[in-house]
């Protein structure tokens, strides 16, 4: 027992030394930057972040390291960033996702999305596509609505996370069409689409980068796009509005944020680097292959855009009287 106590004393001493040694250096960046993706690996946000990670070293002296912290629909990882030191070494990838612009209108959040995070830049917007298995009897939203009404049965739906952009789009679809859509949340788009591919749910929703490989492999067919306009990567798929259902959303906005209180010069450095990344030909090419449009916006513009999007989502939620418990 004595030796155990001695060992613990040694550990405490070592940990003290470590904490003492971790005072920051002056020039930013002087160490690798961590980019937190609050969803599981393989989803659309993760794919985007890892594409940035690859190109990043061309324009920065320090590498960007992407880590996944999934859970709680994205709240777990985002909260980690909110609570981290505002020094620019911990960034949040995916700012503008469902739990940022949708969830606050539905439930109490452990932090204030707009106030506790500082926008750095917008990278892309991912559309929401409604898909079914290739053998499904539903070839359009109309088929699905008719079946549900005739059989008086709910439509089980795979969505990436609870109260996310996909969940909201699908729930709105059900409300507007007057049918019961049961959304089953996963820890990210990759898991949700895998479950749909296994035929465990009737329909699913996802972003192009998550569903494209399944569509190309002949596992899924796309039946609708939940945006005001068609998605350029799926030109033959009609929008919900075209199919007589008055639902159109912003899709899932994907930007980068730092904790509030991060020095202005640091934000400017990060913003500038991300701008260069967005203009990089290799980055553009990869994004095109992934069916993700590059839609860069600088810090200030992006901040305003987010406020607008949050207000728009709140309006949809109010209009359709959506509650998610």
């Amino acid at each position: 027992m004595k030796r155990v106590i001695a060992a613990i004393a040694a550990i405490l001493f070592a940990s003290f030394l470590l904490t003492a040694a971790s005072t920051a250096a002056d020039v930013f960046p002087s160490k690798p930057i961590t980019g937190v993706v609050p969803f599981g690996p393989g989803g659309s946000t993760d794919i985007l972040a890892r594409t940035v990670e690859k190109v990043w070293p061309k324009y920065s002296t320090q590498p960007l390291v992407i880590v996944n912290k999934p859970g709680g629909g994205g709240v777990v990882g985002t909260e980690g960033v909110v609570r981290s030191k505002p020094d620019g070494y911990t960034l949040y990838f995916g700012y503008g996702s469902g739990h940022d612009v949708v969830m606050p209108s539905l439930q109490k959040m452990p932090y204030d999305t707009l106030k506790d995070l500082a926008p750095v830049a917008r990278l892309s917007i991912h559309s929401v596509v409604v898909v079914t298995g290739v053998n499904s009897q539903f070839n359009s939203v109309k088929d699905m609505v008719a079946w549900s009404k005739k059989e008086n049965k709910p439509i089980t739906t795979a969505v990436s996370v609870k109260a996310g952009a996909v969940d909201l789009a699908l729930t709105s679809l059900g409300k507007a069409a007057g049918i019961d859509i049961v959304t089953v949340p996963f820890t990210g788009g990759a898991e949700a689409t895998t479950a749909l591919a296994g035929g465990h749910l009737m329909i699913g929703g996802g972003h192009p980068s998550e569903i494209m490989s399944h569509i190309k492999a002949g596992r899924f067919k796309a039946i609708a796009v939940a945006l005001p306009e068609r998605d350029p990567s799926l030109p033959n798929v009609p929008t919900l509005r075209e199919q007589g259902i008055d639902v159109a959303t912003w899709g899932s906005i994907k930007g980068v944020a730092a904790p509030a209180g991060t020095p202005k010069e640091v934000i400017q450095y990060l913003e500038g680097t991300l701008k260069k990344v967005c203009e990089d030909p290799e980055f553009k090419k990869t994004m095109e292959n992934l069916s993700q449009p590059v839609m860069y916006q600088g810090s200030e513009e992006f901040g305003k855009f987010l406020q607008q999007a949050t207000a728009d989502y709140a309006a949809i939620i109010k209009r359709l009287n959506i509650k998610i418990d």
Binding site: V4, K69, G71, G73, V75, V76, P110, V184, P185, A197
Partner: protein
């Protein structure tokens, strides 16, 4: 054909200098910790988890961890035979006949047959994995939320019941693991649970910290208390090449051990430890001279050593195809994959063929390296046990502290590391097996989420778990095993009282 193409591309990846180097490091470290009593593969992989943040490619990280895992199965036999001290849990039965052989001056033959048996079984196990894993992955898509729930729960219960330790204590460990996993934000709704206002707890306990504490520090603390003393059977190893007679006696034992190991390894909750116990029991049953068992029967070394290696290969199958880890060591590799941005599951072969085939190819190479490392150099490895614990322990402790701090850069993780270390120490003192706890901690979110998803799909009816064939079959399989084991225990009790 796809398999051959995949395997060739896998060798392309495994043969790059960096991957070759890490496979070698894995084999080397694995053998070393296999030799060292008191430090098992799960603990070592846990201690090395922070290192994977440094390694660039995911496949390289997994090659390293896998190497440690199957390498330890080779090393484990050395101290069992020479010192009557199992280097790790899967070599416990090897002590029985291996040490007796060494006492009779046949240490070389025992070590030789253990290494050769390990090599044959390991290679056949990987061959089986190469052939069957892609097929299983195709079938894996039919595992939806209800099947995942049943598999995870059955796996947990099997890990508890098959471990050979107290079932009650195993269940307590399992429940604790599930409870620890529920700290933090609700995986579905994002509401905070059990954080007691501590900000760091809102994101839950960190797996690496928990594993390093409970496994790594816990074992070190126990080691500090009981400085390991052992009686060396012999320092002279002699020729490690088995004679023709040895070979004739152990040939079939190796093959039987391989088959047993392969199948036990695939079962969730199974793995190397159980397979070696089963193999020893089988060899004793089928032997022509069962009275030789316990007196230095070479089959009693060859069979279990083959079994634990085959199991260590085949236990990768459920991980790489279904994304469900079956035992504590594999659970660490599962966590490593997630950290590197890869979700193991049905689409792993298609989406990350470099990881799937690269790891498989490196396992073929790793087994060859291990044979070379172990046969001629076995005497050298035996010397490792002479390193005083007083030197090794502080070095390891320092690494765990740096490791846990480096993950998120917060001192809170060091305190929880110490807490978990003390907890792991207490568990060992009270004879609780920490394996089910760590496994339950990893599987906990999966169990919870898949259950809630299943109930959403079924509209709240629990019948979904018994009306879907795969789920029903899994539950049925467990019921049969549980009843069988209970009957066996009752029978044993009755026959001893009579």
């Amino acid at each position: 054909m796809e398999t051959i193409g995949g395997l060739i591309s896998g060798f392309d990846i495994a043969l790059t200098p960096i991957n070759l180097l890490f496979a070698f490091i894995g084999a080397l470290v694995g053998t070393a910790i296999g030799v060292l009593p008191g430090l098992g593969p799960a603990a070592t992989i846990a201690l090395l988890l922070p290192a994977i943040y440094v390694v660039q490619e995911p496949v390289t990280a997994i090659i390293l961890m896998a190497g440690i895992f199957y390498g330890s199965m080779y090393g484990g036999s050395t101290t069992s035979i020479l010192l009557n001290l199992p280097g790790e849990a899967a070599s416990v039965v090897t002590c029985i006949d291996g040490y007796k052989m060494a006492k009779k001056g046949r240490a070389g033959a025992a070590l030789g047959i253990a290494a050769i048996g390990s090599f044959v079984a390991g290679t056949i196990g990987i061959l089986g994995m190469t052939l069957f894993a892609p097929a299983i992955a195709g079938f894996a898509l039919s595992f939806g939320p209800p099947e995942k729930f049943s598999l995870a729960v059955v796996g947990l219960l099997m890990a508890v019941t098959l471990s050979g330790h107290s079932i009650t204590k195993g269940l307590v460990m399992m429940a604790m693991g599930l409870l620890l996993a529920s700290v933090g934000l609700d995986p579905i709704s994002g509401k905070t649970r059990f954080s007691f206002g501590v900000i760091e707890l809102q994101s839950g306990f960190d797996f690496v910290t928990l594993a390093m504490g409970v496994f790594g520090l816990g074992e070190i603390f126990i080691g500090l208390e009981s400085a390991i003393k052992a009686e060396v059977a012999t320092t002279k190893v002699g020729s490690v090449w088995p004679t023709l007679k040895d070979w004739a006696e152990s040939r079939m034992a190796i093959l039987r051990g391989t088959l047993i190991g392969f199948f036990v390894g695939v079962i969730p909750g199974g793995g190397a430890v159980i397979s070696s116990l089963v193999s020893y029991a089988v060899e004793k049953k089928v032997a022509k001279h069962p009275e030789e068992f316990g007196e230095g029967a070479i089959e009693g070394v060859a069979g279990p050593e083959a079994a634990n290696n085959a199991a260590s290969s085949s236990s990768f199958i459920p991980l790489l195809t279904l994304g469900i880890p079956g035992n504590a060591s594999i659970a660490m590799i599962f966590a490593a994959l997630l950290i590197k941005g890869i979700t193991p599951g049905p689409f792993l072969i298609q989406e990350h063929p470099e990881v799937f085939w690269g790891v498989i190819a490196s396992m073929y190479l790793g087994n060859v390296m291990l044979l070379v490392l172990n046969l001629p150099l076995v005497g050298l490895w035996a010397q490792l046990t002479r390193v005083p614990f007083g030197i090794m322990a502080p070095v390891i402790i320092l690494f765990t502290v740096i490791g846990s701090y480096s993950i998120q850069g917060q001192a809170f993780d060091i305190y929880s590391l110490i807490g978990f270390g003390l907890f792991g120490y207490l568990l060992r003192k009270l004879k609780f097996e920490p394996g089910p706890l760590v496994l339950a901690f990893v599987l906990g979110p999966m169990v919870e989420q898949s259950m809630r998803q299943s109930l959403l799909i079924s509209g709240g009816h629990f019948s979904i778990f018994v009306t879907r064939p795969i789920s029903l079959a899994l539950i049925g399989l467990f019921a049969v095993l549980a009843v069988g084991q209970a009957a066996f225990l009752v029978y044993k009790k009755l026959s001893t009282t009579n």
